[in-house]
């Protein structure tokens, strides 16, 4: 258990060092930079093209389907990870294999449904 915490302590120290470096660089830049703001400097910069139009646009609902597809298959992946770690050593390996393929099969039905409904095409 101690080892376990020590591993995370290492990660935590790395994060702290990273944040420190980031803060130091921004801080030094802040201390050294001359600050003369003009209207042109404060304008929104977008690839050298002047920004125009409203800042708020309503996005199309089709993005939602893609986001949800991502969530569904993200959760599927989360279940496949522990499954993959025990497949070589578990007692009823065949039963566990079938269990996972039933799980994936049901989600393939979902994917087939989405495809059949034409939502994977970019209309």
């Amino acid at each position: 258990m101690s080892d376990y915490y020590e591993n995370y302590l290492t990660i935590f120290l790395f994060v702290l060092v990273g944040l420190g470096l980031f803060g130091a660089m921004i801080g030094v830049a802040r201390l050294l930079q001359p600050r003369r703001q003009t209207a042109a400097k404060l304008a929104t910069y977008e690839c050298g093209v002047e920004a125009e139009g409203d800042w708020w646009t309503q996005q199309h609902v089709r993005y939602y389907v893609f986001a949800l597809l991502f969530v569904v298959f993200d959760i599927e992946a989360a279940f496949i990870f522990p499954w993959a770690t025990v497949m070589g050593s578990i007692a009823d390996a065949w039963a566990v294999l079938v269990e996972m393929f039933v799980f994936i099969g049901i989600l393939v039905v979902a994917l087939a449904y989405v495809m059949r409904k034409g939502l994977l095409r970019w209309m």
Binding site: Y5, Y63, F81, A110
Partner: protein, 218 residues
Amino acid sequence: MSAPAGQAVPLLLGLAIGPTIAAVVIGIVMVVAGIRLVTTDNVVHAAISLMGVLAGVAATFMLLGAEFLGWTQVLVYIGAIVVLFLFGVMLTRARLGEADLDAPVAQRWAAAGTAVLVFGLLTTVFVKVFGSAEITVVTGQAPREPGALTSPTTAADLAHDLFRDWVLPFEAVSLVLLAALIGAIVLARRDDREHTRPRVARPEIEVIDEEIGRGGET
């Protein structure tokens, strides 16, 4: 969590110092993020605060030795669910910061009541079930008894429980995901059809779009 003999975990008042400090810090961060989540006027700020709360939950899982669960929390909740929330915000017609997010007073009371009830229920359940349970600390590659309270819990431990004792709930998860996907498609499809139809019944389109916007937020 008790450490076995020979394992030097510094104790103060019977508590392991390092993990206790970490738990307190995580708790403070979560409470601050949670308060910010419900008090902010900007939906995107609320989503970012939610990310902080969920990161705190993940850190707590890791602190308790549930490493895989913690990282899954990061992947699924911070990586996917909050993204889904932000997509929902992008789909709504209301401009950011201009929508009135203040809930009516009755709703606030209902929310406060629900929060207290959930807290009471969870506390009771945890104390009743785990009140005097000792977590056995496993070091190295020691084999684990099925269903035993051990720490840290590896992905393999989780898989043994999941694929031996909890097969049916596991398969039910895929059906829930299927239902969620079909639900989202039903909503999205209706919107597409309305957009391709010649725009004569204008008020009807308005109503349907609003419905979908609301559906996206939840």
